[in-house]
Amino acid sequence: MISEWWKICKSRPNAFVGSLLMLLVFVVAVIGSFYTPYDPIAVSTTERLAAPSLAHLLGTDEWGRDVLSRLLSAATVSVAISGITAIIATAIGAFIGAATAFYGGWFDRIMLVFMDSLLAFPSLILALSVIAIYGSGEYAVIIALSIAYVPSVVRVVRTSGLSLKRREFIDASAIMGNSRFFTLLKHILPNTLAPIIVLGTSLFGWALLAESALSFLGLGVSPPAASWGGMLADSRYYFENAPWLAVAPGLAISISLLGINLFGDALRDYLDPRMKNL
């Protein structure tokens, strides 16, 4: 598996860069969870808005907090939120999608209408409502974004489920006396894995972006914990005086997104049998 991946990376610089960036983001997120140069939430009245220096590699923010430390701990938060959201939304969406495709009929129609209704909701509004109910914070963001993303997953998985359903190994399973639920779990779901994984990676990207956007609108994770979008939003007032405040989180978001997008492309190629021989 890894060797095949390496093959893809060797032939495509994009895949290589993507894998590298994703690795970087994850390493940073892991580091950020147990080590930061300073306490990311400790306020210092004497060092407000200090420019980058040896002591503070990325400078300090308006409360004198070390930007690098905040960036690192925010990475943990962002990656965790996006990752968990992607996993939850994909898992639930995949199951519903496969089930609607497989069972069909009224169940399918009703679920579809329901999912469509959710899709018609702007996802930010959905997020806003959940956050208004639960208060902002990691969990609210995860719940809100998961709900918002489930319908898209359902759609994608349903489409591939529908074509799978027509394939004869599903009939073969019935002939062997398997129950419909067993067939769903054992034959349909695993076969939607490729689109699910690809979708999962893009969901990770979307969630990262949406979490940043939410934080940007002041609805993200609970302060004083940092998040990239929140850091970016807070930096707006100091744009001209302390540009480093905006540059660091902005770059962090863009780099992660770039990484996840490139990685997703590579993954798509990796999972696409047609591309294997190219």
Partner: protein, 316 residues
């Protein structure tokens, strides 16, 4: 299935979608803690005034009654009156929707006009320098959050170069050219990110099509590259992109909140967000009506044109 029956079913399902969305939002916003009357009073603590205000806003009725009343008036074309602003919901929503539409529609059109040719060319020149350049640009465009891009635009074009206005908004219907100058930045910021998505989709669907046998067959007829790519590959490759464009448009018409926030456009997205903050129930409901309606309409239109465009697709 006949087109009439197909449309009938689509419209039926669409109205169900609409109804469910509206019901969800109606009860959801009332589930959210916060009381429009108290918000208006702010930190003034006056229980009597609060009760009076609640009664005036009919908030003291059971929720289900409020819902039925609202539906009843809705079928008569009455969306109610805003709680926070002293006027009918319709007169608030329509201009906001106009702003969002004049932001989103040009942005999506521009994005499509850039992205479809770019994606096609990248696919034609697969694995060449051109492809790498186009795809890198698209991926980068996709990876820059639109609010960040918006801020950079504001700073650079608005503040440093000073050739575009940064403040406020003039409707294109009031003063066309001035209106356009206010839209240039937000439209380009939005178009750029969306273009990234469309380029990638267009490229991959074009590549898929180019692999097909009938393309080889077209070459075997002696057609030029150009003819094969435009006349044979393009119509087939554009179908999924077309659906995607519809989805993007439908979603954005529901308000490009972030872009509207960054560029301070009084669009539907902002209106919706602010109404939620203010718990202005009638406006929220009205906005959601428009949002869902435009989403559903765009989708029905896209799906139907898709069917008309691609003969042989099935209708179920």
């Amino acid at each position: 299935m006949s087109i009439a029956k197909y449309l009938l079913i689509r419209v039926l399902l669409a109205s169900m979608t609409l109804f469910i969305s509206l019901a969800i939002i109606f009860f959801l916003i009332r589930l959210i803690p916060g009381d429009p009357a108290q918000i208006m009073l702010g930190n003034i603590d006056d229980p009597v005034a609060l009760e009076r205000m609640r009664a005036a806003l009919a908030l003291d009725q059971p929720v289900i009654m409020q819902f039925l009343n609202w539906l009843h008036r809705l079928v008569q074309g009455d969306l109610g009156v805003s709680i926070t602003q002293d006027r009918s919901v319709l007169s608030i929503i329509i201009p906001s929707f106009g702003v969002t539409a004049s932001l989103v529609i040009p942005a999506v059109i521009i994005a499509a006009l850039i992205a479809i040719p770019a994606g096609s060319v990248a696919a034609w020149k697969q694995n060449t320098k051109i492809d790498v350049i186009v795809m890198t640009a698209a991926t980068i465009a996709l990876s820059i959050p639109s609010f960040w891009l918006g801020l950079l635009f504001l700073l650079f074009f608005g503040l440093k170069l000073e050739f575009l206005p940064v403040v406020g908004y003039v409707s294109m219907f009031d003063n066309f050219w001035e209106g356009v100058t206010y839209l240039i930045m937000p439209v380009s910021a939005l178009a750029l990110t969306e273009a990234g998505v469309i380029v990638r989709l267009m490229r991959s669907s074009t590549i898929d099509v180019l692999r097909l046998e009938y393309i080889t067959h077209a070459y075997a007829k002696g057609l030029t590259n150009w003819t094969v790519r435009t006349r044979h590959a393009l119509p087939n490759a554009i179908a999924p992109t077309w659906t995607m464009i519809g989805l993007i448009l439908g979603a954005l018409l529901g308000g490009a909140v972030v872009t509207e926030t960054v560029f301070t456009l009084p669009g539907l997205g902002r209106l919706l967000v602010e109404s939620i903050f203010a718990r202005d129930y009638p406006v929220i409901q009205g906005c959601m009506l428009i949002v869902t309606l435009s989403y559903v309409c765009v989708n029905v239109i896209v799906d139907t044109t898709y069917l008309l465009l691609s003969p042989g697709a099935s209708y179920d």
